[in-house]
Symmetry: C2
Subunit: 149 residues, 2 copies
Amino acid sequence: MSYASFASLPCTLGRPAALLGERWTLLLLRQIFLGTRRFEDFQTTMEISRSVLTDRLSMLLDEGVLKRVPYQADGRTRHEYRLTEKGKDLYPVLMALRTWGEKWMLTEQEDESFTLEHRDCGGGVRAKVECADCGAELTARDVHVTARG
Amino acid sequence: MSYASFASLPCTLGRPAALLGERWTLLLLRQIFLGTRRFEDFQTTMEISRSVLTDRLSMLLDEGVLKRVPYQADGRTRHEYRLTEKGKDLYPVLMALRTWGEKWMLTEQEDESFTLEHRDCGGGVRAKVECADCGAELTARDVHVTARG
DNA sequence: TAGCTGAGTTCGAAAAACGAACGCAAGGGA
DNA sequence: TCCCTTGCGTTCGTTTTTCGAACTCAGCTA
């Protein structure tokens, strides 16, 4: 099958998993959600090689997760990378990762590189899974999977 | 920094993102949530190379996401890979990916490779982000990020 | 004119992934 | 006993990716 052909899997979990499962892509999205927008800033803060950065950015542009937006710098027009609506909708994925990280990947001397709070009430942020019908919070055990084909 | 050193980032989003951002890892977890447990089955259904499969499985064992559980086959003791509690807690991450996939990565002829339903009421499954204090559903715009250091 | 900056591109070396073949332990059948 | 099969890896030579340093290029700025 070779990794890339998962892009055409008839599976709405498999295709996103293959896209975001490419090395650097999740870390790149994290950086974007933290506010980084420019090529140079991605490159220096993540220490990713420039050629791979170019590749991953264009992958996310192709998928419509990012868009290039012009801005002025030194009186010149340049472009920065911003999330599209599709990209912003990845927020729950990142928050689910973080919720998991807070529970299971804490280190002794945690010095979180950022904090999150609900603008309106100052509360913490938490990802969860719920039933679209009855609203109950769900874990893997509460869900029945039916494989097809 | 080199990709692997993200494992020591002081960031509860960065470390999980680096772990699951390794190629094949998310697709492997998908397969596990769909019920696959044995080396041979992973290899044939995913068409991953055997050496990389060995590597990713041991990575997830090391992280405590999977455990090896003995079982009997042909009167012999063998081992299968199962999720630990830590691993089962990744469910929201996978569901967030799927919720996103359903909204943004549908193809014309979608023939979902599995369906999910809440055991108790038969309802659909949905990932979301909420405020841990007031319970409001949150998007990226509702959350204030404060970077540190 | 020369230097600087942001955003890439290029290219040789190193690392990771691929895939076919091999190893091995234990059960089953002839 | 000998051979075949199964499940689960390991090995190894080849192909892809990634790395990282250098190079390019356009348009300020001194």
